[in-house]
Assembly symmetry: C2
Homo-oligomer: 415 residues x 2
């Protein structure tokens, strides 16, 4: 194991106070799954009638908990979420499936519901069997002691190589009631199956049907978690779940059955804000990251084309090492545009770093001041903007720089 890293210099300076969500109780415990001296299990207990939605990794080799969640999601109902860190229960064959079934049974018994109302997520080492019997007494006890508070503790219990817990919250009007949305995430470098994976859980007391919740979540993920990359490596375990207890109906919140319901306008905006916030925090905790990088591509033929080009730039090791070196190396950006395979015309291309245009019309911009650019690159947030000059397609992707620390975190820990 790597030595624990110091907190990322890009960590948010303000951590919001997390309010309670009516119908949700949280408990954490140290079950000794892999780590010592820290919590590694989270139980979230939700009131009867809670609806559920989820989006998952596109990996062709997903973890056992991902397969479990996909199956139970068909029911659309949730009464508990069990998350463990330290072991991803991925690539564990039949043992993995047995393990999720046992965990589901233990949790269902503890909470008093059916196993298909239990959601599971695991993060940590891959390929190691997960001994689900460790949950046996733990979940019983957690169900008894779980409280509406403790959101930050919950976010800490699900961390792996994360250097800080990630939470976000919002209150918003739904009808005449005020509803709350709380979210948490873990992921540092994402996407590192031996060390980390992206998990995120969002809770609300708004009364929203499972189908509507699923549509909202799917729409919300496109420009948040799906627009973040640390190293281009996709986890076997990426999981984003959302739960709606409906408790706000007692305060007069209308029951929502369609994602297109106009009364959801403020809610949708707040949810998007939380997903964006958590996704940015994941980029800010990228393994070894010293700079947050925002890649903006505009003037593409379509938004999808802009996304593909932005991802090509954000995943380029040469672009990312240049940012680490505080070098406004637009040649490498051209390279990454060129390799994306999307429509691009060299002679119409402009590139800016933190608002300073360094290249235009297929050549170096003769007017830029090297010292000004060098100073701008010292900022801990770097925006790379590429204007293609072809159409109206625009997109934005977040990433971080590629440092020697990334190599150390992912390459040194066996030595």
């Amino acid at each position: 194991m790597a030595k624990p890293s110091p907190v990322s210099p890009l960590a948010p300076t303000h951590v919001p106070a997390m309010p309670a969500i009516a119908g949700v109780r949280l408990g954490t415990a140290a079950a000794g799954i892999r780590y010592k001296g820290r919590t590694d299990v989270l139980l979230a207990v939700m009131d009867k009638g809670t609806t559920a939605a989820g989006v998952f990794t596109t990996s062709k080799c997903p973890s056992a908990p991902v397969e479990w969640c996909r199956a139970v999601l068909k029911g659309g109902k949730a009464q508990a979420l069990v998350v463990n860190s330290g072991n991803a229960n991925a690539f564990t064959g039949k043992t993995g499936k047995t393990s999720t079934k046992l965990t589901g049974d233990i949790a269902a018994k503890a909470v008093g519901c059916k196993p298909n109302e239990i959601f599971l997520a695991s993060t940590g080492v891959i390929g190691e069997p997960l001994d689900a019997s460790k949950f046996n007494c733990v979940l019983d006890k957690l169900n008894e002691t779980a409280t509406p508070d403790g959101w930050l503790d919950a976010a800490k219990a699900i961390m792996t190589t994360d250097t800080f817990p990630k939470v976000a919250t919002a209150k918003v009007k739904l009808g005449k009631a005020t509803v709350t949305i709380n979210g948490m995430a873990k992921g540092a470098g994402m996407i590192a199956p031996d060390m980390a994976t992206m998990l995120s859980f969002v809770f609300t007391d708004a009364p929203i049907s499972a189908a509507a919740l699923q549509a909202l979540l799917k729409a919300g993920v496109a420009d948040s978690f799906n627009a973040v990359t640390i190293d281009g490596d996709t986890s076997t375990s990426d999981t984003l779940l959302m739960f709606a207890t409906g408790a706000a109906a007692a305060q007069g919140a209308p029951k929502i059955t369609k994602a297109s319901d106009v009364r959801l306008k403020a809610f949708v905006k707040a949810l998007q804000g939380i997903l964006n916030d958590l996704a940015e925090q994941v980029a800010r905790d990228g393994e070894g990251a010293r700079k947050l990088v925002e890649v903006v591509v505009e003037g593409a033929t379509t938004k999808a084309s802009a996304r593909k080009i932005a991802m090509s730039i954000a995943n380029s090791p040469l672009v990312k090492t240049a940012i680490a070196g505080e070098d406004a190396n637009w040649g490498r950006v051209v390279m990454a545009v060129g390799k994306a395979g999307e429509p691009a015309n060299r002679d119409k291309l402009s590139i800016s770093f933190n608002g300073i245009r360094v290249a235009k019309s297929g050549a170096r911009d003769p007017s830029y001041d090297e010292t000004e650019v060098s100073n701008a690159m010292k900022n801990d947030k770097v925006q790379i903007k590429v204007a293609l000059g072809l159409g109206k397609g625009r997109d934005r992707v977040l990433t971080c720089d590629l440092t020697k620390e990334y190599v150390a975190i992912n390459g040194d820990y066996r030595s």
Copy 2:
């Protein structure tokens, strides 16, 4: 600029003696394009009647010399090749085009041929105008002094961040004559537009028509240069050219007009050997590389599917940092298989490192010995073999590990 790196520990221990090729003369010079105290221009002069073939980068933002070569290749005839290092003449707008035209004119005048029989390649910094007037006296003089020897000098003149020159040679029967094939390449980390790009030039005295030569080269590149990746970043300048002087016809070599001609059997094999050899040398000189990595995927549904999965593994920063850490981290290989998007069944998957199977049937192989694997990973060549168990598709890709030196070479040089 980075400090010159010491020679890669993966450099071949044997450098072949390079024979002359009838109809080819070589000359190198120090034109002061960017570097000091070293040669940076290569002129290869070829006899009238030489045929030409070429394959180029798939980048949508190719360099000016790539666009020049694509245009002149239509004629299929070559009398000279001019290569410079230190400046890639890429993303230089109209200036770049003017520069290639001027270089072509200067070379054509020096050699005594038409500009559309001149091939150009440039490698080095991107975005800087290339002052072609520097070739003015140089090419005249080089044409006068060029000799059939000096292949290693030629390979040195085209280097950028390469730590060793890359050459390969073969002699083979064509009809009753013995023909020669000589090749050279440059590229270290490939694919780094500010520092390096992949260039390769192959010469033969075999009498082969331009159309047949093009078909041979295109077929030969698929499993050699197209099966190598250092960092997944595609250069704006990748260029592979092949020239056939036809001089061996005087020794009785048959004139070949079709790539499918059965008399070419030995020639095709030898050409493939040279392209494979040069491509492997590029991987061995990968920026910061300490280990050569061969990724073999078998049991895929098709060869193309196997290639895609092998490339996903070979380009994964997490797999590459694990190899740098001498860690047989098969969890990351599973991740890379999963993210490739190709047919894969976790429960049928087996993974070996240097012949030692560490995972089978969707779980850790209980029989492997951790000490044995750890020792195997200390080797400077690591083979990752993935058996998918789905079909007969098989492919192989070469890459290298991702080390802190890679980050230093590409991130530190401005500091």
